[in-house]
């Protein structure tokens, strides 16, 4: 049932917010809740259908849910003006560097895995021969 699945999500969220709120864990409550839900799903072994539908519907409008928080940038227009250069440089430079480093790392790892597999397969054929 949809409401049961909503309760599952809210229970994970509440547990996360409590652990985060009392300072037991320094992480944001919703992220702790995410890990709880992940653990819960691992126990069940599959995504219950209503939960899957709920997630699809909610995550489809995820981009809308932080609009009100974003409007709060009104309070930072002065900061955005005075710090425009470091912010723009950090975003442009930082994102470019991150993409380059991650893409090259991933490419190397993929090549390495392929090589290892080729060697393993070669040994398998050698053994068969």
């Amino acid at each position: 049932m949809l409401i049961t699945e909503a309760l599952r999500v809210l229970a994970c969220l509440c547990a996360g917010e409590i652990l985060s709120g009392v300072g037991l864990l320094p992480f944001p409550g919703p992220v702790i809740g995410l890990v709880f839900l992940l653990a819960n799903l691992a126990l069940i072994g599959e995504v219950p259908q209503p939960l899957g539908r709920l997630a699809d519907h909610v995550l489809a409008v995820l981009g809308m849910l932080f609009v009100p928080t974003g409007v709060g940038l009104l309070a930072y227009t002065d900061l955005l003006r005075t710090e425009f250069a470091p912010i723009a440089a950090a975003i442009l430079g930082g994102t470019l560097v991150t993409i380059v480093v991650t893409a090259v790392a991933a490419k190397r790892l993929i090549e390495f895995e392929a090589q290892k597999r080729a060697i393993a397969e070669g040994e398998a054929t050698d053994a068969a021969a």
């Binding site: 691992a42 995820l62 932080f66 950090a90 993409i99 380059v100 893409a103």
Partner: protein, 238 residues
């Protein structure tokens, strides 16, 4: 008679229906605008909706706090939505198992690079402490980044906007940069775009191929979770 008394108006503005309605309306218009533009990454619906509403709040002479309270339900919904990110992540468990080494390795390099490059550049250019703390979680998905920003003493509103700018930047330069580098494997392109530029990068990666989109989604979720775990701990040390 129409009550034009400003006090009456002020009470109406605080009703949730107005704040929520305005938010949804702005987002729907922004979505239409993006579709009409043929899916331009720069006309990101979240950013456009934020600018619309910021403009509306400013010219109407409203307090941001009043709007935020009135639209509070939308903001609250972000918390369970972050929890629900577990569902797409769990659905991809087979992909994670099959490509564990590639994913873990890319994340081990990409995650710290994302944080350190941004705060390093900002620090070198003498940015304010608040700016640096708000920038630190910029590569994670906004729902998670806002929570991290709160935990480490940044400004969540500023973080929300910086996260979107990062996403747009990654979506625009990601395909170009990876092509220049000679990286063509969709798994590598996807991981780079998801880890560097979260959901907006993931949406762009999905246009490249389904595999690129799947790996971008994985990169985004795992980067979000591990940044949320590492950054507050690291911030406590300094």
């Amino acid at each position: 008679m129409l009550p034009l008394d400003p006090h009456v108006w002020h009470k109406i503005e605080l009703v949730p229906a107005i704040g929520v309605g305005a938010t949804v309306a702005a987002y729907v218009i922004a979505l239409r605008l993006q579709r009409w533009s043929g899916g331009s990454a720069i006309l990101n619906p979240t950013l456009v909706a934020i600018l619309f509403l910021a403009f509306a709040v400013k010219i109407s002479g409203l307090d941001y706090a009043d709007y935020a309270r009135s639209a509070g339900v939308v903001t609250f919904a972000l918390a369970p939505a972050v929890v629900l990110l577990a569902v797409p992540l769990f659905r991809q468990r087979r992909l994670i198992r099959d490509s564990a080494r590639i994913i873990v390795g890319s994340l081990a390099l990409g995650l710290p690079t994302g944080i350190l490059s941004a705060i390093g550049i900002a620090w070198l250019l003498h940015a304010d402490r608040l700016t640096i703390l708000s920038l630190a979680p910029k590569s994670t998905t906004a729902g998670i980044a806002i929570g991290i920003s709160e935990k480490i003493g940044g400004a969540p509103s500023l973080t929300a906007v910086l996260v979107i700018m990062t996403g747009i930047t990654g979506a625009v330069i990601g395909p170009i940069a990876t092509r220049q580098l000679g990286v063509s494997d969709p798994r590598a392109v996807g991981l780079a775009m998801g880890i560097a530029s979260h959901g907006i990068g993931t949406a762009r990666a999905l246009q490249i191929s389904e595999t690129a989109g799947a790996f971008a989604g994985l990169g985004m979720s795992l980067n979000g979770i591990f940044t949320a775990i590492l950054l507050p701990v690291a911030a406590n040390l300094f």
